[in-house]
Symmetry: C2
Subunit: 574 residues, 2 copies
């Protein structure tokens, strides 16, 4: 009896260890692994084998080395890898990871160094022009591991994958899966996370920590909903009065230097910053310095004039307001290197304009309808940023609810419901998925308006499982599929602050990172978004969560630790 | 127009400031305030005017002084108190807060010092014998403020209230509400918070931080669900093998020294520690060291044998197991000074015993039914702790679902539903409210078992508004009301860890602190748990949240900051 019980435990251990292998997130699109253990030599280093490595690649190498040493993650199995110690001790030692650029991307070290484009330069290229592909090879014989890529950005992605192959037991860092052969590239070019810094403020340090966490799951787009009706924390050169009057406090601002710092920090981590100045709604904060531009400012009852307090929208029918907005957007555009910029466009409240004498007077004078005035406002403001090389991004209402002239290359973000994707696609616009029914991280935390005992409008809580089940191509024809750029999970911050930023976001926001990197198919050919697929996902997501905590991000556990070290055993059906 | 708009803003400002006055949580039961501003002198100090002040009172004075200096809370109004500066500058200065014990509790400083019972001694007295009452007076003329109480525990509660009267503007600490006269005592003797440290582990530092936060809203009972089927982190003298084999890691344990540290830390803050060793269910972890005592250990499919994986329950029909449990409970009882101790008793799975050959053999041998065996087990294990002066606390099933002999003074915790309170009261047992439909802090975060896309069993999220609406006397006769000891909010930690402890608990868990301290009636005579009452609650809860963050606890914002500084303006009806 004792023997068979012991054997059962051993078998369960082995099975569970095997199933937690390849603990990569997002899982590469092509992956083969073996069962040879290789451990890092104490002299282990990462080396670029080409001349002219940009400084941000060298920084990325240093960060990778640091992560490898600090993760200290013991395998998520019952004995946390203790039984592997003899094998690791006698394993071949890996002394180096070599980074190679394909001929198009760099020069062999023996030739004269020429400039190799930096990670930062690659990261902010136009969507679709960023090359994140790489191959990663870890031989089983101790000879050098290799990452090959066309770009430094691809090398960064490969190093991110490499860190996730490694576990630590008894101070030995190792992988038990050599030889590893990975050929990887993202299924979609846009994999984002959106943060609202207007409902509540987040210091730069919180944003930087979030950018780090994003990079660990290869999220490449930070969508920064920086301003809203509640506050205007962005300092814009030439428009300093906006934040001066409407930031929550004098120190709750992002200076141009902060922006530059955030943009650089992001780009070095392979992340482009998509700034959003939401217009013409969600702009009551502008009234603090420019009351002349805002209709129905703080009008009550607010629910008649806006989806959230305070009410207040740009007087879109006013030429002065339109020109002010265009100039302000252009000034913002100049602060960000991205080719993308969002002008918002959600939740326009018509009653606000119906009740606004100034807007009615403007419409009467021009003979335009409100919709025509909106179109003129949009064309003018978009032209201002297009002139600066930006592609406009808008919320879905601008496509579906209004009759607005938009450039063909405008990108629409679908947020109200995943059901709306097909209608946007039918209009031929490119799409970023951000549906509230799958990807809103704030849902399910209860109603925040006062004197209301109810639940949040978008109940229930969007679990990682729900997000993981998302099908980017649902209800689309094959021809329409090319319109899908990717997607993002979003945090609206009515009830969030630095106090809960990490735990409300992580590891959940990594879910869409795999949806849009790996796509529909796991490397073994099985479907990703099926119960079986989510079963293989959970152990890998546990792994990422443990690494995040080790790296200083307060990601929450998705299960009791008892379950985390017993893959599959806490399944409902187990 | 400009003038009237300015006047409107000023009026709104004044109104909002007035409504955010008395920002106390829980609000005292009798309170009168004026509108005189008094500021703290730079020499301000807190002084006991009696001899023999215990050291934990002196420590509490030091902590209070520290909090007063670190809170730095500007009034939650639009201008954050800037317009008050001239008034504060010329205000009378308060140089001291005097602590006085009533004659029964201490001796005037001029007499010979005799021993004054410490806060810690008062805090761990039997439920109902702790005197937390106090009066607090802050005159408007700068003469000394005074707290009078019968006990050092009452003095502590008074100091906690005092800190909440104070705001800081331009480095001046002040109240604008003098003269303040408060006569206060709790409506209910049990105001608790429960933490599960078995599903995921929490280091001592997290528990201490939580105890601090509890004390700020006068929560006086820490219900520590320390062990469960997933892990056994408690080191028990004489039973060290339990944690040695079933703690998650060697360092994920509470040593006797840790326990002593936690107990002292709690008691100094007026908090009694109610330890729970959940039996006979929720005990699979015991199988790691004592497989002979556990039925259906890790049996599968787990859902047939337990509400959560892993399955495993004490073999309650076995005399050896009963004696082991009684001895273990007695050893735990000796670690804690509280007169209360919980033996658990929830979610007993009958099928586990039906399928267990050993249990069936024991029942056959004794001729007892399972229910009879459960009663015998309970009587024996309860006797072991009663002998050590403990009053047993059990989950509601022991009263409602089983035919178990319980001492009359046993306390039942109602958790399944608030609807079950009346049935427990009908059986005459004293009650602590912990209903999942109002007070479970973990609900609404999604299903944690694997391969299930669903929501948590107790959806939706329990908002602070929902908790605040709780009526402790619902469905009870007047005669039964005396059975209600109070209540607690609870955190089960399947998806919690130090990463989200603060934000998932605070400020929500302070809601029941007011429900059970203040009771049904606000100091102005209005009903607490009505929409109007919750309207006055929200600004006060914002205040507590800001103070918590200043004091190092990551409490979440309940609204955008725009709303927090405009009381009532974000109400659904505003």
């Amino acid at each position: 009896m004792a023997t068979s019980a012991t054997m059962f435990v051993k078998l369960a251990f082995l099975l569970s260890f095997l199933s937690s292998a390849s603990a990569l997130w997002p899982i590469p699109r092509q992956l083969s692994t073996g069962n040879i253990t290789v451990r890092l030599a104490s002299s282990f280093g990462i080396h670029a084998n080409f001349a002219g490595a940009p400084s941000d690649l060298n920084d990325a190498i240093s960060r990778t080395m640091s992560i490898i040493k600090t993760d200290q993650l013991a395998p998520l199995v019952i004995d946390r890898g203790a039984s592997l110690i003899p094998t690791i001790q006698k394993a071949k030692q890996l002394t180096s990871l070599t980074l190679e650029l394909s001929s198009s991307g760099g020069n062999p070290k023996t030739t004269v160094a020429t400039s190799v484009p930096s990670i930062s330069e690659e990261a902010v290229k136009a969507i679709g022009e960023r090359d994140e592909s790489y191959t990663l090879s870890v031989p089983g014989d101790g000879s050098s591991a290799t990452i090959k890529a066309n770009t430094t950005l691809g090398l960064l992605r490969g190093m991110t994958t490499f860190t996730q192959l490694l576990f630590t037991v008894d101070n030995m860092i190792f992988t038990s899966e050599a030889p590893v052969e990975i050929t990887d590239s993202p299924a979609f070019p846009f994999r984002g996370f959106m943060l609202d810094t207007a409902r509540n403020f987040f210091p730069v340090s919180d944003i930087k920590r979030t950018l780090d966490a994003m990079s660990w799951s290869k999220i490449n787009q930070f969508h920064w909903h920086v301003t809203d009706s509640q506050s205007f924390p962005l300092q814009i050169p030439g428009f300093m009065e906006l934040s001066q009057k409407a930031a929550y406090t004098a120190s709750s601002v992002y200076t141009p230097s902060d922006v530059s710092d955030i943009v650089s920090y992001a780009a070095e981590r392979g992340i482009d910053v998509l700034i959003e100045i939401d217009t013409p709604g969600h702009t009551a904060a502008i009234s603090k310095s420019h009351p002349e531009h805002i209709a129905c400012n703080e009008a009550t009852p607010w629910a008649n004039f806006a989806n959230e307090p305070p009410a207040g929208q740009l007087r879109l029918a006013s030429d002065a307001t339109t020109n002010f907005t265009a100039s302000m957007l252009a000034a913002v555009a100049k602060m960000f290197p991205s080719t993308l910029m969002s002008t918002g466009g959600d939740e326009l409240n018509v009653n606000c304009y119906t009740q606004d004498n100034e807007t009615q007077a403007s419409l009467n004078a021009s003979g335009l309808t409100l919709e025509q005035a909106l179109s003129k406002f949009t064309v003018t403001t978009h032209a201002a940023i297009e002139k600066l090389g930006k592609t406009p991004v808008v919320w879905e209402e601008m496509v579906l609810e209004h009759n607005v002239t938009l450039a063909n290359d405008t990108i629409a973000m679908v947020w109200i419901s995943s059901d709306d994707v097909a209608a946007v696609a039918a209009k031929g616009f490119r799409i970023v998925h951000g549906p509230s029914d799958f990807f809103y991280l704030d849902c399910g935390g209860g109603e925040w308006v006062g004197v209301d005992i109810g639940n949040s409008w978008c109940d229930p809580f969007k679990t990682w499982q729900k997000a993981y089940s998302f099908d980017p191509f649902a209800n689309l024809s094959e021809a329409q599929q090319s319109l899908i750029l990717g997607g993002e999970q979003l945090l609206w911050t009515e009830q969030s602050s630095p106090s809960n930023l990490d735990p409300i976001v992580w590891p959940r926001a990594a879910t869409s990172a795999e949806v849009f990197w790996t796509g529909a198919t796991l490397p073994d050919g099985s479907q990703r978004n099926t119960p079986a697929g989510s079963d293989t996902a959970l152990p890998r997501l546990h792994d990422l969560q443990f690494r995040m905590v080790a790296r200083g991000v307060n990601a929450i556990p998705l299960q009791p630790q008892w379950c985390a070290v017993r893959p599959g055993v806490c399944d409902l059906t187990a």
